[in-house]
Each structure stands twice: as C-alpha cells, then as structure tokens.
Symmetry: C2
Subunit: 410 residues, 2 copies
C-alpha cells in the first residue's frame, strides 16, 4: 500500500500514548481521575440555549452563524478576547493580532506549520502536555526537556539548553501546568520572555488554565514582558466556556499573524461560526463573571477535597503539588512503585477501579523518568466520588509499600 | 526575526492568489459572481434554531454538544453519512471508516499530513481548486496539471503523467468541478479508480457539489469502483447544510482511518460538537429531503438564468460550460482579452462593477494559461441581479472585442 509520509512515523510513540489514554475513558464503573475534561456541571448549557434562540433568526445573526466567515475569526469574538480576556490580565493587544482557532491545540499545530522544519528542536517542560508533543512530533521536531521545580521551568537550565540546541521554539504552560499543576513564578516569566528575545527563539505560551484560579493572585503572562514579538500567547475557551465548542485563540505580532492567516486558510479555512457567535454573545451579554465565579467555586471544592484526601489516604512520603487553579495535581509515590503497572492493577481490581494518568508518558526523555508519578485530575469528579476514589487508590498504594507502616491508620 | 519554515515559502504564490480573492468580497456595490459561497436563502436557519432549542438542554443532548467528543466525530453524524449520503449513491461504507472534518478542506490537509513528504508530486486537474493547491503547496508538494476536456480529467494524460512523475496522489473533483463546472464521465471514473490501484497512487476524490444536481442523472463516485482502498472520498456539508458550520467527512480504508485518527488528534482534537449534533439531528429528523429540493430548485433557476444571460450578452465565440449542478460555470472569452486585466477594469468602472474570478489563478502551470477564462458563480446571486450583472459584464467584454461586430445587438 502507498507509503505514509515520514511524519506519521515520528509521531507514532506519542500517538500510541494518547490512544492509550482514550482507552479507559467512558467506562461508568471506573472513578476516573484520568481525563482532563472540565466538569459537565460547568457547562453553561441553558444560557447557550437562550442565546441560540435569539441569534439563530434570519433577522438577527442567523446568516452570519451559518455562512462562511473570516479566516481570523468572528470580529466580535476577537474583540471579546482583547477587551475581556487580555486587557484585564495586563496584556494590551489589537483584535487584528488575534486568530480564533479550532480549540487551543490547533494553535500549536498552526505555529508548527509556521516555524518547524524537520529536525528543528523544541524545548518543552519536563514533564509536559503529551498532546502538544504529538503535534510537535508530527512536524518532525526533536523535543528536548527542560528541568522544572515547584516554580516551573528553571531559567538556568532553559538558557543552557537554548545555547546547546539552538531551538526554534520553547513550549511552556506557565499556569497550573499540565500535568503538574505548577505555576511559573513572575520573575521567571520575565526571564523566559527575555531569553526568547535575546536568543531569537519563539516562546509559545500555552495558558488554558490561567482563568480558573481558586486561590492566590493572578500573575502577568509571559507575553506581558515580551518587547520583541518573540512570545506568542495561545489560549482556549475550553475551560471557561465549553470544550466541545473547540474555540481557542492565538495572539501574535503583525508579521506572524499574516502567516497564521495563510496557514489557517490551508488547514480548514476558518473556525466554525455558530460556536463563535454563541461564545461572543455569552461574553458580550455579560454572562461570564457569574459563570466564572460558579465554576471556580465548583472546582475549588474539588481541589480542596482531592488534596485533603491525598494527604489522608496516600502513604507517608508521597509528594504532591498544591495547585492554585487548573484541573490537576501531580503526585510522586514512595516505595519504588511503578505507576504504570499500578494503574493496570487498579483498573483490574474490582475493589479499586480508579483511573489516573501514569507519569511516565509525560516525560519525553522516555528512560523511566516519572515512573513513580501520577497526574490526578479532580475537575470532572464530584467531591463524594473524589473521596471514595482517593481512598481506594490510597489503600492500593499502601498495600504495595513495603511493611505498609508508612500508611495512615485505617 | 525567527525564520519561518520552508513550507511558508512554497505556499506563498497560491496564498497570495487567495488573499486577492478575498479582497473584493463583501463590497455591497459590486455584483459578485466571484465567491463560491452558497446562497444565504439556502441556509436552514429556522430549522437549526428549532433543533438547537430541543438539543441544548441538560436532559437531552446539551452535555454532548458542549463537552469534548470523539476524534473521529459524533457517531450519529457518521451514521447519517453512511446511511443517508453514501448508501443512496452506491457507496457501501462502515461508520468506523468515516472521519468528520472541520469542513471539506480539512480533509485535504489531513491527507497531506498522512502522505506528503516535501517534493512528492500531486497530480491535479488543469484548472483546479486553488485552495486545495495552497494546502498541497504548504506541504511542499509539487503539483502537476492533468489535461481536461468537457468530460473531465483525460485518463490517457493521467496515466502518462503517473508514469512520468510517480505521484503520491491524484486530486480530482469529479462532479461539477471547481472552477469549470465539468463532470467526469462514468467510464472515466472507473478508469481513474483502476489507475490508482494499478499504480499504487492515492486518488483523492473531492466531491462537495455532487448532491446539488439540477439536471441529468447521478453518477457513481470514483470510490464505488475502488477495490483496493486507494481511493479516498472527501466531502462537505457546506453546500447541503451550512458552510459556516465547517463540517465535512472523509471515507477511507481501516489502515488510513487509523492514521487519520492520529493526524486529526494532532491538528485540533476533534470537530466542534454543537454543529455536529445539529447536523446529525437535521438529517435524522427527516428535514433533508425537502431542504434538498428547495435548494436545488433555487440554484436551478440561477443556473438557467446565468446560462441564458451569457448566451444573450457575451460576444459570439464565447465558450461556456453547461453545469448540471454545482455553483459555477466557466467561460472562455474570444478576442484575446486578458480576464485578469478585464476584472480590474470591471471593478473600477462605475457602470459595470461586476466581479468574477479570473481564470489564470486556477492553472498551476502559471504560464498565462487560462488568461482568457473566467469562473462565474451563480449560486449566491438572485436571478434579477444575475441578469443585470451578466448584461453589464457582457457589454464591457463586447466593447473590447475588435470591431464589436460579433456582439449581440443591443
């Protein structure tokens, strides 16, 4: 049969990790801390219905919602991005520098179209978002990991790797990072922007969790420190509006936006119009502030429950992050337990049946790094189920820890 | 500034042609036979509103419409494709071989991800759809034209070029082709499928106009003659439902669909859910047959008006196609008139102000081929405006023909 292109081979490893992730989803018997999907309770269904009622008329916005639209996206929605999402966070932008994408991930794809030739290096956080790595590998980029600590990517290691690998791009999720829940400190944000300008490297700032913060204070995005156009901000409406709508945006310089126009045209012409119209109206009609408060309250309770359950049920020596927002925490388990094997056991054991994502898959190093870690999602699971699932999982882990002495008393 | 990838250079020519096309759109003073957009009267706005009312409830399909969905697309919609769009046209398929794309063009993009390495050859009809060429050139393919006549791509020339260039792919729009309105004959469809199997070349059959036929009888798609999986059928809901919804689909073999799953994941995860739910319900609730009749009646009148106006107002020696469906006719003008220059004059002259797309841009040969041709769209223009526009344009052309003697009497 006809040969596939080279890129289909380079992406095979990450693609198979992702296919693995999809496997356990949707089984109702499993308590899943695996997926990164927002809570279904956080979807503004009735509000969107009400807006749809109003806009889907020939005399209102019906034609606009169903006819071809502009490549950069619905002007209204680009204006919402500028005035309601960027300006309040300290980023001054013009709507002509916004491209609406078909979900946040499409921003990564389009920016690879623009910048990545086969063999180019992209620096990523170690660990990082595996779907983004799949995109980078489809473009035959070589991904190299940059060390992190509790304040995110370490600038000294970043600079060293920039010098060593002359990368085309640095991919960073600065806020409530996927998979760790960690946040890049303000000082480091400034430093990352400077390194991009200094070494002429694109900083791709992917910030989809920023707006769901439950404690602590907002930090300026990396983009706010960019003086040369090297930082490109990508974001998504998935966590604050609806993931199924597949809406995201990219903020870039004039020169880069002109190229994004061409790449978007040659990818799928433009993003679906009806979701853009509904989302723009959702913000313009003022529904966002109350909705935002509702979802933050919802997730805050889930985070607090998850953190206290990990502390209560996981063995002594467990390290976990405390995320001020987002959907994940990241736990490192003591006792040399392999979390990939543990996951198989957890799913197979009728007394456990709890899913998470094993840590190993998030490390591009692939040498067993992170094989004692797990990404634990709390966003999509109600508190009572979090309690049951975390207790069952904790008990399974404790049963593996030699002697079991370090485990909380039952 | 950071260097763009190689592909951004190879696509520059076609990208600038397309940017040029966007320029004249949307000016209300111009009668435009330029764009390929469906008529706004053909959008089922009220029906979609009614469906949205019903599905956007928490107790019905509200969560499904707004939450993450599956990579291949909404199962319901894939079933609709199989049972309502493919089976009645003689193509037996399984829904697991259908991928829902973000518009028809995304199918071209994804198939390039799968098959095209830089320098690979893609054979295209001469002339062909310029947006598809832009996609191919973004993937650094070398496009080579295959000669056409009134029955579409000429198989003898196709076979000769397959032997000469060892292409990876043949791109063909078999029905009411863009830009010519021509249809590939049944015998040739069979032959094209056979050539794909015989020479191990992917036949990419792009068939978005097939379902809007106003006269003549349906022909089996090329895919119906494919016995080896070399033909991949791509189609779109843009002409039969709504272009702004950005919905299309690809039908491919198991092996290719598995790779499409990976490429789609790494492009934008999946197609927007709400448009998929609305479109699936539109078909499942039985709205399509009456809607289909309505739009065919609408376009038939416009085609008939356009053809009779060209015959009445364009000079003797004009050749035009008679499309049995679709949105375009293609005219070749006598007297050595350059249609690119004529277009500039038509737009600038306050007594004319009629747009079309100059023929040259559709030929990848780029040696002045087609510079006496024009693509004339009738789909988006009401009959009374077609009459006024065609008469004005005809008069302008006649004024250019030496002596003017061949022109219809006024």
């Amino acid at each position: 049969m006809t040969q596939f292109a080279q890129r289909m081979k380079t992406m095979e490893k990450s693609a198979s990790v992702i296919r693995g992730l999809f496997g356990t989803m949707g089984d109702p018997d499993i308590i899943s801390f695996g997926g990164g999907a927002p809570a279904k309770e956080a979807l503004p269904i009735e509000t969107i219905r009400e807006i749809a009622q109003d806009v889907l008329r020939r005399e209102t916005r019906g034609v606009e919602a169903l006819q071809y639209g502009s490549v950069l996206g619905l002007p209204d929605l680009r204006e919402v991005v500028v005035t309601q999402l960027l300006a309040p966070k300290g980023v001054q932008a013009h709507m002509d520098n916004i491209l609406i994408t078909n979900g946040g991930l499409e921003g990564m794809n389009l920016l690879c179209q623009l910048f990545i030739d086969p063999g180019d290096v992209i620096l990523v956080e170690s660990p990082t978002f595996v779907q983004a790595v799949e995109v980078f590998e489809m473009f035959q980029a070589k991904c190299v990991g940059v060390a992190m600590d509790d304040n995110g990517m370490i600038p000294e290691d970043l600079e060293e790797k920039i010098k060593k690998y002359s990368p085309k791009m640095v991919y960073v999720i600065p806020t409530f990072q996927n998979p760790t829940g960690r946040t890049l400190s303000l000082e480091r944000r400034k430093k990352v922007a400077e390194l991009g300008s200094w070494y002429d490297v694109i900083i791709l700032e992917d910030d989809p969790y920023r707006d769901i913060r439950y404690s602590g204070s907002d930090l300026l995005p990396i983009k706010a420190f960019d003086t040369t156009g090297h930082t490109i901000l990508a974001n998504s409406f998935s966590k604050i509006f609806s993931p199924g709508s597949r809406l995201g945006y990219v903020l870039a310089s004039d020169e880069i936006t002109a190229k994004l126009f061409d790449a978007k045209t040659a990818t799928n012409s433009h993003t679906s119009m009806l979701p853009q119209v509904l989302c723009a109206e959702f913000f313009k009609r003022g529904y966002y502030p109350a909705h935002h408060k509702m979802i933050c309250d919802l997730y805050r309770e889930r985070r607090d429950t998850m953190i206290s359950c990990i502390d209560a049920f996981f063995p002594e020596g467990t390290k976990r992050t405390y995320p001020d927002g987002g959907l994940f925490t990241w736990a490192q388990i003591p006792g040399g337990i392999n979390t990939t094997e543990l996951l198989a056991e957890s799913l197979a054991n009728p007394d456990v049946r709890v899913a998470y994502v094993a840590g190993e898959g998030f490390f591009i190093e692939g040498n067993g790094m992170g094989n004692n870690c797990m990404r634990i999602s709390f966003g999509g699971v109600p508190p009572e189920k979090i309690r049951i699932g975390a207790e069952r999982l904790g008990r399974l882990i404790c049963s593996k820890v030699e002697g079991g002495l370090s485990c909380p008393a039952e």
